[in-house]
């Protein structure tokens, strides 16, 4: 019986066709596999959860609402308080007077920089005028800086020391005590 099955005429043509189909299938699957591997390794090399909470602060360039072009690296040698905010963000409004007050108190010792996130120029300018903000502020065009710092939401504030290293991050609105403590740490690293 078995001999009869294996010696049938139809079976003689099958292997070459089957092999060709197998090769095409293998090629297609290999292509998909390579693509998936590329995505996998890209994900490993660029983990989305890696936040700029320590190490060298990502450098960036902005043009402030006053038209001044500046880069974070311009301030190397001076600690920087980098605040992400938006005019539509209610908690940002809570901490804004505090930021302005501390900017006035530590002017010359610490640089304050405001980055406006997902906002429009008229709304941002109205907000800055409302709180009488005088330290540099500019739009984060295309949310690129927000992405580079892996910010979770606004308000969020990064504390960068004179060497350009991130010393800490505060998520959410700050109290006077938070800000005082963070600035003291920046000015006196052994604090």
């Amino acid at each position: 019986m078995n001999n009869a099955v294996t010696s049938s005429p139809g079976a003689g043509d099958q292997p070459p066709r089957s092999r060709r189909g197998g090769v095409i299938l293998f090629g297609a699957l290999a292509l998909v596999g390579i693509g998936l591997l590329a995505v996998f390794y890209y994900g490993i090399l660029n983990p989305p959860s890696r936040r700029a909470s320590e190490g060298l602060a990502p450098d960036f360039q902005i043009t402030t609402y006053d038209g001044e072009a500046m880069a974070l690296s311009d301030f190397r040698g001076t600690p920087v308080v980098l605040n992400f905010w938006a005019s539509w963000c209610v908690p940002c409004r809570d901490e804004q007077p505090l930021l302005q007050a501390y900017w006035q108190r530590y002017q010359g010792e610490v640089v304050f920089l405001g980055l406006n996130y997902l906002d429009q120029r008229p709304n941002a300018l109205a907000y800055l005028a409302e709180f009488g903000v005088t330290y540099p502020n500019g739009p984060d065009m295309g949310s690129r800086i927000y992405s580079a710092y892996r910010v979770q939401g606004v308000p969020e504030t990064f504390f960068i020391d004179a060497a350009g290293q991130v010393q800490g991050v505060h998520v959410g609105p700050m109290t006077a005590r938070d800000l005082e403590q963070r600035i003291s740490q920046l000015l006196n690293p052994t604090f």
Partner: protein
């Protein structure tokens, strides 16, 4: 005949309805085209976040200023980033998000075609085998018949 024509007309109208609706109000069309940048999968037209409210106001202002929907969309991308499109940008590494599903589809189709061809070819061999076996019963000695023969001889 008339009934078929009427059905075809209704079908075409249904197909064209979204396009006609967009033609009607460019602000609505833009709001449906853009996504809330801080939410997960919520369209601008149905979002109640303050940021979306501001975006809708901007759309109205820009349209009133004579800017085209495409220009407004480009402004949003420049200002807010591609997140407002609700889809990965068609450039750089993001292209994998567009290409991979197509590759998976092609691979899936290749598997289906390959398996179907195998299934279609296999049954052809089975009847042939049966036919071959049936055509020459003497070539395949039946053990039952052999045993009957032996018992008959013993008698």
């Amino acid at each position: 005949m008339m009934r078929r024509l009427l059905l075809a007309l209704i079908f075409l109208l249904l197909l064209a309805a979204p396009a006609l609706a967009q033609e009607g109000d460019p602000a609505d069309a833009l709001q449906k085209d853009l996504w809330c940048p801080i939410c997960q999968g919520i369209r601008l037209d149905v979002c109640d976040q303050k940021v979306c409210e501001q975006m809708r106001e901007m759309i109205d202002q820009e349209l009133a200023a004579g800017n085209s929907p495409e220009q407004i969309k480009a402004q949003f991308i420049e200002l807010y980033g591609p997140v407002v499109l609700g889809e990965p940008p068609r450039q750089g590494f993001y292209l994998t998000a567009w290409i991979l599903p197509i590759l998976l589809l092609v691979a899936g189709l290749a598997v289906v075609v390959w398996l179907t061809r195998r299934w279609v070819q296999k049954p052809a061999t089975a009847p042939a085998a049966i036919a071959t076996a049936a055509a020459s019963p003497e070539t395949a000695p039946d053990p039952y018949l052999a045993r009957v023969e032996k018992e008959l001889q013993d008698l």
